[in-house]
Symmetry: C2
Subunit: 276 residues, 2 copies
Protein backbone atom coordinates (compact mmCIF):
# COMPACT_ATOMS: atom_id res chain seq x y z
CA UNK A 1 0.00 0.00 0.00
CA UNK A 2 2.69 2.44 0.98
CA UNK A 3 4.25 2.20 -2.47
CA UNK A 4 1.12 3.87 -3.86
CA UNK A 5 1.58 6.96 -1.70
CA UNK A 6 2.72 10.17 -3.38
CA UNK A 7 6.37 11.06 -2.95
CA UNK A 8 7.58 14.03 -0.91
CA UNK A 9 11.11 15.30 -1.44
CA UNK A 10 12.55 17.18 1.53
CA UNK A 11 15.69 19.29 1.52
CA UNK A 12 16.82 18.84 5.09
CA UNK A 13 19.54 20.74 6.90
CA UNK A 14 22.51 22.47 5.42
CA UNK A 15 21.98 26.00 6.69
CA UNK A 16 23.03 26.95 10.21
CA UNK A 17 19.95 27.07 12.42
CA UNK A 18 18.08 24.26 10.73
CA UNK A 19 17.32 21.61 13.35
CA UNK A 20 18.40 18.39 11.69
CA UNK A 21 17.37 16.24 14.62
CA UNK A 22 13.82 17.59 14.54
CA UNK A 23 13.68 17.03 10.79
CA UNK A 24 14.85 13.41 11.15
CA UNK A 25 12.32 12.73 13.90
CA UNK A 26 9.54 14.26 11.79
CA UNK A 27 10.65 12.29 8.74
CA UNK A 28 10.33 9.10 10.78
CA UNK A 29 6.76 10.05 11.77
CA UNK A 30 5.82 10.94 8.18
CA UNK A 31 7.05 7.53 7.04
CA UNK A 32 4.99 5.85 9.77
CA UNK A 33 1.96 7.73 8.44
CA UNK A 34 2.56 6.14 5.06
CA UNK A 35 4.30 8.92 3.15
CA UNK A 36 7.16 8.06 0.84
CA UNK A 37 10.13 10.37 1.37
CA UNK A 38 13.35 11.19 -0.40
CA UNK A 39 15.72 13.40 1.58
CA UNK A 40 18.37 15.69 0.13
CA UNK A 41 20.84 17.54 2.32
CA UNK A 42 23.48 20.23 2.09
CA UNK A 43 26.57 20.66 4.20
CA UNK A 44 28.09 23.93 3.15
CA UNK A 45 28.92 25.05 6.69
CA UNK A 46 30.53 21.72 7.58
CA UNK A 47 32.58 21.72 4.37
CA UNK A 48 33.82 25.21 5.16
CA UNK A 49 34.73 24.23 8.73
CA UNK A 50 36.62 21.15 7.54
CA UNK A 51 38.43 23.23 4.92
CA UNK A 52 39.47 25.75 7.59
CA UNK A 53 40.71 22.96 9.87
CA UNK A 54 42.74 21.44 7.02
CA UNK A 55 44.27 24.74 5.96
CA UNK A 56 42.18 25.05 2.81
CA UNK A 57 39.52 27.66 3.67
CA UNK A 58 36.58 28.11 1.32
CA UNK A 59 36.52 30.79 -1.34
CA UNK A 60 33.10 32.13 -2.22
CA UNK A 61 32.57 33.88 -5.53
CA UNK A 62 29.69 35.94 -6.89
CA UNK A 63 28.41 35.65 -10.45
CA UNK A 64 27.60 38.73 -12.53
CA UNK A 65 23.89 38.03 -11.90
CA UNK A 66 24.41 38.04 -8.13
CA UNK A 67 24.52 34.34 -7.19
CA UNK A 68 27.07 33.30 -4.61
CA UNK A 69 28.80 29.93 -4.87
CA UNK A 70 31.80 28.05 -3.52
CA UNK A 71 34.75 28.06 -5.90
CA UNK A 72 35.60 24.36 -5.97
CA UNK A 73 39.12 23.45 -6.98
CA UNK A 74 40.19 19.82 -6.80
CA UNK A 75 41.23 19.95 -3.14
CA UNK A 76 38.03 21.81 -2.21
CA UNK A 77 36.05 19.06 -3.90
CA UNK A 78 37.85 16.41 -1.82
CA UNK A 79 37.15 18.37 1.35
CA UNK A 80 33.53 18.96 0.31
CA UNK A 81 33.07 15.27 -0.41
CA UNK A 82 34.56 14.21 2.91
CA UNK A 83 32.42 16.66 4.88
CA UNK A 84 29.18 16.17 2.98
CA UNK A 85 29.30 12.55 1.90
CA UNK A 86 31.32 10.99 4.70
CA UNK A 87 30.29 13.45 7.40
CA UNK A 88 26.72 14.77 7.10
CA UNK A 89 25.31 11.95 4.99
CA UNK A 90 26.59 9.21 7.28
CA UNK A 91 25.42 11.13 10.34
CA UNK A 92 21.92 11.63 8.89
CA UNK A 93 21.64 7.99 7.86
CA UNK A 94 22.71 6.95 11.34
CA UNK A 95 20.24 9.34 13.05
CA UNK A 96 17.41 8.10 10.84
CA UNK A 97 18.29 4.45 11.39
CA UNK A 98 18.24 5.01 15.16
CA UNK A 99 14.67 6.24 14.63
CA UNK A 100 13.75 3.06 12.79
CA UNK A 101 13.96 4.48 9.26
CA UNK A 102 15.52 2.17 6.66
CA UNK A 103 17.72 5.01 5.40
CA UNK A 104 20.25 4.51 2.62
CA UNK A 105 22.81 7.21 1.79
CA UNK A 106 23.82 8.08 -1.74
CA UNK A 107 25.37 10.98 -3.55
CA UNK A 108 24.41 12.09 -7.03
CA UNK A 109 27.65 10.45 -8.23
CA UNK A 110 26.49 6.98 -7.20
CA UNK A 111 25.08 5.05 -10.09
CA UNK A 112 25.16 8.31 -12.09
CA UNK A 113 22.08 9.38 -10.13
CA UNK A 114 22.46 13.09 -10.91
CA UNK A 115 24.25 14.06 -14.11
CA UNK A 116 25.63 17.55 -14.30
CA UNK A 117 27.31 19.79 -16.80
CA UNK A 118 30.44 21.66 -15.87
CA UNK A 119 31.72 24.94 -17.25
CA UNK A 120 35.28 25.19 -18.56
CA UNK A 121 35.44 28.59 -16.86
CA UNK A 122 33.11 30.55 -14.62
CA UNK A 123 32.60 34.32 -14.66
CA UNK A 124 32.81 36.01 -11.30
CA UNK A 125 32.82 39.55 -9.99
CA UNK A 126 35.57 40.50 -7.55
CA UNK A 127 36.13 44.06 -6.34
CA UNK A 128 33.69 45.27 -8.96
CA UNK A 129 35.63 43.61 -11.78
CA UNK A 130 34.56 40.62 -13.86
CA UNK A 131 37.03 37.80 -14.28
CA UNK A 132 37.13 34.17 -15.38
CA UNK A 133 38.09 31.27 -13.12
CA UNK A 134 39.15 27.86 -14.43
CA UNK A 135 39.26 24.42 -12.78
CA UNK A 136 35.94 24.73 -10.97
CA UNK A 137 34.41 21.38 -9.99
CA UNK A 138 30.85 22.64 -9.72
CA UNK A 139 27.98 21.36 -11.80
CA UNK A 140 24.41 22.24 -12.62
CA UNK A 141 22.29 19.09 -12.69
CA UNK A 142 20.78 18.32 -16.07
CA UNK A 143 19.14 14.95 -15.35
CA UNK A 144 18.27 12.74 -12.39
CA UNK A 145 17.84 8.97 -12.81
CA UNK A 146 14.46 8.34 -11.23
CA UNK A 147 14.87 4.61 -11.92
CA UNK A 148 17.46 4.13 -9.20
CA UNK A 149 15.36 6.04 -6.67
CA UNK A 150 12.22 4.09 -7.59
CA UNK A 151 14.16 0.84 -7.26
CA UNK A 152 15.20 1.80 -3.73
CA UNK A 153 11.80 3.22 -2.71
CA UNK A 154 10.11 0.11 -4.06
CA UNK A 155 12.35 -2.08 -1.91
CA UNK A 156 11.48 -0.08 1.20
CA UNK A 157 14.54 2.15 1.52
CA UNK A 158 14.47 5.89 2.23
CA UNK A 159 17.16 7.51 0.07
CA UNK A 160 19.25 10.25 1.68
CA UNK A 161 21.12 12.16 -1.02
CA UNK A 162 24.33 14.18 -0.69
CA UNK A 163 24.85 17.11 -3.08
CA UNK A 164 27.51 15.68 -5.36
CA UNK A 165 26.76 15.18 -9.04
CA UNK A 166 28.38 13.09 -11.76
CA UNK A 167 30.18 15.08 -14.46
CA UNK A 168 30.16 13.77 -17.99
CA UNK A 169 33.54 12.06 -17.56
CA UNK A 170 32.52 10.44 -14.27
CA UNK A 171 34.15 13.09 -12.10
CA UNK A 172 32.42 14.17 -8.89
CA UNK A 173 31.08 17.73 -8.88
CA UNK A 174 29.86 19.99 -6.11
CA UNK A 175 26.24 20.89 -6.74
CA UNK A 176 23.62 23.05 -5.08
CA UNK A 177 21.46 20.99 -2.71
CA UNK A 178 18.26 23.04 -3.12
CA UNK A 179 18.37 22.74 -6.88
CA UNK A 180 19.33 19.08 -6.59
CA UNK A 181 16.24 18.51 -4.44
CA UNK A 182 14.19 20.29 -7.12
CA UNK A 183 15.57 18.09 -9.90
CA UNK A 184 15.01 14.94 -7.81
CA UNK A 185 11.40 15.99 -7.15
CA UNK A 186 10.82 16.72 -10.84
CA UNK A 187 12.34 13.39 -11.97
CA UNK A 188 10.15 11.47 -9.52
CA UNK A 189 7.02 13.46 -10.31
CA UNK A 190 6.84 14.21 -6.59
CA UNK A 191 3.67 15.63 -5.17
CA UNK A 192 5.54 18.09 -2.95
CA UNK A 193 9.00 19.54 -2.67
CA UNK A 194 9.78 20.94 0.75
CA UNK A 195 12.82 23.18 1.20
CA UNK A 196 13.59 23.66 4.89
CA UNK A 197 15.38 26.85 5.79
CA UNK A 198 16.39 28.95 8.82
CA UNK A 199 13.45 31.35 8.35
CA UNK A 200 9.66 31.03 8.35
CA UNK A 201 9.72 30.99 4.53
CA UNK A 202 10.28 33.59 1.85
CA UNK A 203 10.25 37.10 3.33
CA UNK A 204 9.10 40.23 1.53
CA UNK A 205 11.41 42.30 3.71
CA UNK A 206 14.39 40.21 4.89
CA UNK A 207 15.10 39.67 7.81
CA UNK A 208 11.69 40.86 9.09
CA UNK A 209 9.96 37.55 9.81
CA UNK A 210 6.53 39.19 9.96
CA UNK A 211 6.90 39.86 6.23
CA UNK A 212 6.44 36.17 5.35
CA UNK A 213 4.89 35.61 1.94
CA UNK A 214 2.43 32.76 2.60
CA UNK A 215 1.52 32.01 -0.99
CA UNK A 216 2.98 32.61 -4.42
CA UNK A 217 1.88 31.67 -7.88
CA UNK A 218 4.58 30.43 -10.23
CA UNK A 219 4.10 33.56 -12.36
CA UNK A 220 5.35 35.60 -9.40
CA UNK A 221 8.66 33.72 -9.07
CA UNK A 222 10.65 36.19 -11.17
CA UNK A 223 9.60 38.96 -8.85
CA UNK A 224 10.36 36.76 -5.82
CA UNK A 225 13.85 36.14 -7.17
CA UNK A 226 14.53 39.88 -6.88
CA UNK A 227 13.31 39.94 -3.27
CA UNK A 228 15.24 36.86 -2.19
CA UNK A 229 18.42 37.25 -0.17
CA UNK A 230 21.60 35.25 -0.68
CA UNK A 231 20.97 31.51 -0.50
CA UNK A 232 17.20 32.05 -0.72
CA UNK A 233 17.69 32.89 -4.40
CA UNK A 234 18.67 29.25 -5.01
CA UNK A 235 15.50 28.07 -3.30
CA UNK A 236 13.39 30.27 -5.52
CA UNK A 237 15.25 29.01 -8.59
CA UNK A 238 14.78 25.46 -7.34
CA UNK A 239 11.08 26.08 -6.83
CA UNK A 240 10.77 27.29 -10.42
CA UNK A 241 12.67 24.26 -11.74
CA UNK A 242 10.56 21.84 -9.73
CA UNK A 243 7.25 23.34 -10.91
CA UNK A 244 8.59 23.42 -14.47
CA UNK A 245 9.38 19.71 -14.06
CA UNK A 246 5.84 18.85 -13.02
CA UNK A 247 5.95 18.98 -9.21
CA UNK A 248 2.54 20.08 -7.94
CA UNK A 249 3.68 22.34 -5.12
CA UNK A 250 6.84 23.64 -3.51
CA UNK A 251 6.96 24.77 0.10
CA UNK A 252 9.75 26.84 1.59
CA UNK A 253 9.32 25.96 5.25
CA UNK A 254 10.78 26.72 8.65
CA UNK A 255 13.49 24.21 9.55
CA UNK A 256 14.16 25.61 13.03
CA UNK A 257 11.02 24.24 14.69
CA UNK A 258 9.68 20.93 15.96
CA UNK A 259 7.82 18.85 13.34
CA UNK A 260 9.16 21.01 10.50
CA UNK A 261 7.96 18.68 7.73
CA UNK A 262 4.37 18.17 8.86
CA UNK A 263 4.01 21.83 9.86
CA UNK A 264 5.02 22.91 6.35
CA UNK A 265 2.80 20.30 4.69
CA UNK A 266 -0.06 21.61 6.83
CA UNK A 267 0.26 25.05 5.29
CA UNK A 268 2.91 27.05 7.14
CA UNK A 269 5.78 28.65 5.22
CA UNK A 270 5.65 29.89 1.66
CA UNK A 271 3.59 27.70 -0.63
CA UNK A 272 4.25 27.98 -4.34
CA UNK A 273 1.83 26.20 -6.62
CA UNK A 274 1.69 25.55 -10.33
CA UNK A 275 -1.99 26.51 -10.30
CA UNK A 276 -4.35 25.62 -13.08
CA UNK B 1 23.28 -13.09 -19.59
CA UNK B 2 25.65 -11.25 -17.32
CA UNK B 3 23.28 -11.67 -14.39
CA UNK B 4 23.95 -15.41 -14.60
CA UNK B 5 27.68 -14.98 -14.10
CA UNK B 6 29.19 -15.99 -10.77
CA UNK B 7 30.01 -13.15 -8.39
CA UNK B 8 33.55 -12.17 -7.44
CA UNK B 9 34.10 -10.04 -4.36
CA UNK B 10 37.32 -8.02 -4.40
CA UNK B 11 38.86 -6.21 -1.46
CA UNK B 12 40.60 -3.38 -3.24
CA UNK B 13 43.11 -0.91 -1.78
CA UNK B 14 43.46 0.13 1.79
CA UNK B 15 47.07 -0.82 2.44
CA UNK B 16 49.91 1.44 1.35
CA UNK B 17 51.46 0.05 -1.82
CA UNK B 18 48.27 -1.37 -3.30
CA UNK B 19 47.77 0.24 -6.72
CA UNK B 20 44.14 1.34 -6.64
CA UNK B 21 44.21 2.70 -10.17
CA UNK B 22 45.40 -0.63 -11.57
CA UNK B 23 42.71 -2.43 -9.59
CA UNK B 24 39.98 -0.11 -10.92
CA UNK B 25 41.19 -0.53 -14.50
CA UNK B 26 41.27 -4.30 -14.08
CA UNK B 27 37.82 -4.29 -12.49
CA UNK B 28 36.50 -2.47 -15.57
CA UNK B 29 38.01 -5.14 -17.83
CA UNK B 30 36.61 -7.98 -15.71
CA UNK B 31 33.14 -6.43 -15.98
CA UNK B 32 33.51 -6.16 -19.75
CA UNK B 33 34.37 -9.86 -19.81
CA UNK B 34 31.04 -10.52 -18.12
CA UNK B 35 32.05 -11.05 -14.51
CA UNK B 36 29.86 -9.62 -11.78
CA UNK B 37 31.89 -7.77 -9.17
CA UNK B 38 31.35 -6.35 -5.73
CA UNK B 39 34.19 -4.20 -4.43
CA UNK B 40 35.04 -3.57 -0.79
CA UNK B 41 37.73 -1.12 0.24
CA UNK B 42 39.64 -0.03 3.32
CA UNK B 43 41.13 3.34 4.07
CA UNK B 44 43.05 2.94 7.28
CA UNK B 45 46.03 5.01 6.13
CA UNK B 46 43.82 7.85 4.89
CA UNK B 47 41.81 7.87 8.11
CA UNK B 48 45.03 8.09 10.11
CA UNK B 49 46.34 10.94 7.93
CA UNK B 50 43.07 12.88 8.28
CA UNK B 51 43.09 12.32 12.04
CA UNK B 52 46.66 13.65 12.26
CA UNK B 53 45.73 16.72 10.17
CA UNK B 54 42.72 17.40 12.40
CA UNK B 55 44.66 17.00 15.64
CA UNK B 56 43.11 13.65 16.51
CA UNK B 57 45.83 11.10 15.70
CA UNK B 58 44.90 7.41 15.63
CA UNK B 59 45.44 5.13 18.58
CA UNK B 60 46.13 1.52 17.76
CA UNK B 61 45.56 -1.14 20.35
CA UNK B 62 46.52 -4.81 20.51
CA UNK B 63 44.20 -7.50 21.79
CA UNK B 64 45.45 -10.24 24.14
CA UNK B 65 45.42 -12.65 21.17
CA UNK B 66 47.67 -10.34 19.13
CA UNK B 67 45.28 -8.55 16.77
CA UNK B 68 45.89 -4.87 16.17
CA UNK B 69 42.96 -2.49 15.70
CA UNK B 70 42.13 1.20 15.72
CA UNK B 71 40.59 2.35 18.98
CA UNK B 72 37.57 4.24 17.70
CA UNK B 73 36.08 6.83 20.00
CA UNK B 74 33.24 8.99 18.70
CA UNK B 75 35.49 11.60 17.10
CA UNK B 76 37.68 8.90 15.52
CA UNK B 77 34.56 7.38 14.03
CA UNK B 78 33.61 10.74 12.48
CA UNK B 79 37.10 11.12 11.05
CA UNK B 80 37.11 7.52 9.82
CA UNK B 81 33.75 8.01 8.16
CA UNK B 82 34.83 11.23 6.44
CA UNK B 83 38.06 9.69 5.16
CA UNK B 84 36.68 6.31 4.16
CA UNK B 85 33.12 7.07 3.08
CA UNK B 86 33.47 10.62 1.76
CA UNK B 87 37.10 10.33 0.70
CA UNK B 88 38.14 6.89 -0.60
CA UNK B 89 34.67 5.63 -1.54
CA UNK B 90 33.80 8.72 -3.57
CA UNK B 91 37.21 8.68 -5.21
CA UNK B 92 36.91 4.99 -6.17
CA UNK B 93 33.39 5.45 -7.51
CA UNK B 94 34.60 8.41 -9.56
CA UNK B 95 37.63 6.50 -10.90
CA UNK B 96 35.44 3.54 -11.84
CA UNK B 97 32.80 5.73 -13.49
CA UNK B 98 35.53 7.39 -15.60
CA UNK B 99 36.35 3.86 -16.79
CA UNK B 100 32.74 3.27 -17.79
CA UNK B 101 31.74 1.21 -14.74
CA UNK B 102 28.28 1.92 -13.34
CA UNK B 103 29.69 2.10 -9.82
CA UNK B 104 27.53 2.88 -6.81
CA UNK B 105 29.06 3.62 -3.42
CA UNK B 106 27.60 2.37 -0.16
CA UNK B 107 28.76 1.74 3.34
CA UNK B 108 27.60 -1.14 5.50
CA UNK B 109 25.44 1.38 7.36
CA UNK B 110 23.33 2.15 4.28
CA UNK B 111 20.10 0.21 4.28
CA UNK B 112 21.51 -1.81 7.19
CA UNK B 113 23.69 -3.65 4.67
CA UNK B 114 26.17 -4.96 7.25
CA UNK B 115 24.95 -5.48 10.81
CA UNK B 116 27.55 -5.62 13.51
CA UNK B 117 27.77 -6.28 17.18
CA UNK B 118 29.68 -3.93 19.42
CA UNK B 119 31.42 -4.70 22.68
CA UNK B 120 30.70 -2.60 25.75
CA UNK B 121 34.42 -2.75 26.49
CA UNK B 122 37.44 -4.17 24.69
CA UNK B 123 40.43 -5.85 26.28
CA UNK B 124 43.79 -4.56 25.16
CA UNK B 125 47.42 -5.09 26.10
CA UNK B 126 49.51 -1.98 26.70
CA UNK B 127 53.07 -2.13 28.06
CA UNK B 128 52.55 -5.78 28.84
CA UNK B 129 49.46 -5.11 30.92
CA UNK B 130 45.88 -5.99 30.10
CA UNK B 131 43.27 -3.28 30.44
CA UNK B 132 39.71 -2.55 29.36
CA UNK B 133 38.71 0.34 27.09
CA UNK B 134 35.15 1.66 26.84
CA UNK B 135 33.38 3.71 24.16
CA UNK B 136 34.86 1.88 21.20
CA UNK B 137 32.82 2.24 18.00
CA UNK B 138 34.16 -0.87 16.33
CA UNK B 139 32.02 -3.76 15.26
CA UNK B 140 32.35 -7.33 14.07
CA UNK B 141 29.90 -8.00 11.27
CA UNK B 142 27.31 -10.64 12.07
CA UNK B 143 25.13 -10.47 8.96
CA UNK B 144 25.17 -8.96 5.49
CA UNK B 145 21.93 -8.24 3.61
CA UNK B 146 22.52 -9.94 0.27
CA UNK B 147 19.10 -8.72 -0.91
CA UNK B 148 20.24 -5.12 -1.30
CA UNK B 149 23.37 -6.17 -3.18
CA UNK B 150 21.40 -8.49 -5.47
CA UNK B 151 18.91 -5.69 -6.15
CA UNK B 152 21.75 -3.41 -7.24
CA UNK B 153 23.64 -6.08 -9.20
CA UNK B 154 20.43 -7.07 -10.95
CA UNK B 155 19.88 -3.47 -12.03
CA UNK B 156 23.38 -3.28 -13.49
CA UNK B 157 25.22 -1.43 -10.73
CA UNK B 158 28.63 -2.37 -9.34
CA UNK B 159 28.52 -1.84 -5.57
CA UNK B 160 31.59 -0.29 -3.95
CA UNK B 161 31.42 -0.77 -0.19
CA UNK B 162 33.10 1.27 2.54
CA UNK B 163 33.98 -0.50 5.83
CA UNK B 164 31.34 0.96 8.11
CA UNK B 165 28.77 -1.30 9.70
CA UNK B 166 25.40 -0.68 11.33
CA UNK B 167 25.29 -1.24 15.08
CA UNK B 168 22.14 -2.61 16.61
CA UNK B 169 20.86 0.87 17.51
CA UNK B 170 21.60 2.24 14.04
CA UNK B 171 24.94 3.75 15.00
CA UNK B 172 27.81 3.62 12.51
CA UNK B 173 30.71 1.37 13.49
CA UNK B 174 34.25 1.04 12.16
CA UNK B 175 34.74 -2.47 10.83
CA UNK B 176 37.58 -4.43 9.29
CA UNK B 177 37.44 -4.30 5.49
CA UNK B 178 38.97 -7.74 4.86
CA UNK B 179 36.48 -9.44 7.11
CA UNK B 180 33.67 -7.30 5.68
CA UNK B 181 34.65 -8.51 2.20
CA UNK B 182 34.55 -12.08 3.53
CA UNK B 183 31.07 -11.63 4.99
CA UNK B 184 29.82 -10.00 1.77
CA UNK B 185 31.22 -12.89 -0.28
CA UNK B 186 29.61 -15.45 2.03
CA UNK B 187 26.21 -13.69 1.98
CA UNK B 188 26.23 -13.56 -1.83
CA UNK B 189 27.49 -17.12 -2.20
CA UNK B 190 30.33 -15.64 -4.26
CA UNK B 191 32.45 -17.95 -6.35
CA UNK B 192 35.65 -16.17 -5.37
CA UNK B 193 36.84 -13.75 -2.73
CA UNK B 194 39.99 -11.88 -3.70
CA UNK B 195 41.91 -9.99 -1.03
CA UNK B 196 44.48 -7.67 -2.63
CA UNK B 197 47.50 -6.86 -0.52
CA UNK B 198 50.94 -5.24 -0.75
CA UNK B 199 52.71 -8.62 -1.03
CA UNK B 200 52.61 -11.53 -3.46
CA UNK B 201 50.29 -13.39 -1.08
CA UNK B 202 50.72 -15.16 2.24
CA UNK B 203 54.42 -15.60 3.06
CA UNK B 204 55.89 -18.46 5.06
CA UNK B 205 58.76 -16.23 6.12
CA UNK B 206 57.66 -12.57 6.12
CA UNK B 207 58.96 -10.34 4.44
CA UNK B 208 60.81 -12.82 2.20
CA UNK B 209 58.67 -12.74 -0.94
CA UNK B 210 60.20 -15.94 -2.27
CA UNK B 211 58.50 -17.75 0.62
CA UNK B 212 55.04 -17.31 -0.96
CA UNK B 213 52.61 -20.07 -0.04
CA UNK B 214 50.84 -20.75 -3.33
CA UNK B 215 48.15 -23.04 -2.01
CA UNK B 216 46.49 -23.79 1.28
CA UNK B 217 43.71 -26.09 2.31
CA UNK B 218 41.19 -24.70 4.76
CA UNK B 219 42.43 -27.18 7.37
CA UNK B 220 45.77 -25.38 7.31
CA UNK B 221 44.34 -21.96 8.14
CA UNK B 222 44.95 -22.24 11.87
CA UNK B 223 48.60 -22.83 11.19
CA UNK B 224 48.63 -19.98 8.66
CA UNK B 225 47.17 -17.66 11.27
CA UNK B 226 50.31 -18.23 13.37
CA UNK B 227 52.59 -17.40 10.42
CA UNK B 228 50.68 -14.28 9.37
CA UNK B 229 52.09 -10.87 10.21
CA UNK B 230 50.02 -7.91 11.41
CA UNK B 231 47.19 -7.10 9.05
CA UNK B 232 47.65 -10.39 7.22
CA UNK B 233 46.08 -12.09 10.24
CA UNK B 234 42.78 -10.42 9.37
CA UNK B 235 42.99 -11.70 5.81
CA UNK B 236 43.52 -15.24 7.05
CA UNK B 237 40.59 -14.87 9.44
CA UNK B 238 38.53 -13.44 6.58
CA UNK B 239 39.48 -16.36 4.38
CA UNK B 240 38.31 -18.81 7.04
CA UNK B 241 35.02 -16.93 7.49
CA UNK B 242 34.38 -16.81 3.75
CA UNK B 243 35.01 -20.54 3.26
CA UNK B 244 32.89 -21.27 6.31
CA UNK B 245 30.13 -19.20 4.66
CA UNK B 246 30.21 -21.22 1.46
CA UNK B 247 32.62 -19.27 -0.77
CA UNK B 248 34.38 -21.72 -3.07
CA UNK B 249 37.85 -20.15 -3.01
CA UNK B 250 39.72 -17.27 -1.45
CA UNK B 251 42.77 -15.74 -3.07
CA UNK B 252 45.20 -13.44 -1.29
CA UNK B 253 46.71 -11.66 -4.27
CA UNK B 254 49.31 -9.04 -5.14
CA UNK B 255 47.72 -5.60 -5.34
CA UNK B 256 50.90 -3.78 -6.40
CA UNK B 257 50.94 -5.01 -10.00
CA UNK B 258 49.10 -4.34 -13.25
CA UNK B 259 45.95 -6.44 -13.78
CA UNK B 260 45.90 -7.53 -10.13
CA UNK B 261 42.43 -9.08 -10.29
CA UNK B 262 42.86 -11.21 -13.39
CA UNK B 263 46.39 -12.21 -12.40
CA UNK B 264 45.12 -13.52 -9.08
CA UNK B 265 42.12 -15.25 -10.67
CA UNK B 266 44.59 -16.91 -13.07
CA UNK B 267 46.39 -18.57 -10.19
CA UNK B 268 48.98 -16.18 -8.75
CA UNK B 269 48.99 -15.40 -5.03
CA UNK B 270 47.85 -17.70 -2.26
CA UNK B 271 44.82 -19.77 -3.17
CA UNK B 272 42.78 -21.19 -0.31
CA UNK B 273 40.10 -23.70 -1.23
CA UNK B 274 37.36 -25.43 0.65
CA UNK B 275 38.31 -28.66 -1.09
CA UNK B 276 36.13 -31.76 -1.08
Amino acid sequence: MSTEQPIIVVKIGGAAGVDTQAACADAALCLQEGHRLVLVHGGSAEASALGEALGHPPRFVTSPSGFTSRYTDERTLEVFSMAVNGGINTSLVSQLRRLGVNALGLSGLDGGLARAGRKAAIRVVENGKQKRLHGDFTGKIGAVDAGLLRLLLGAGYTPVIAPLAAGKDGEALNTDADRMAAMVAAALGAESLLLLTAAPGLLRDFPDESSLIPRLHRDQLDEALQLAEGRMKKKVLGAAEALEGGVRRVIIGDGRIANPIRTALDGAGTMIEAGH
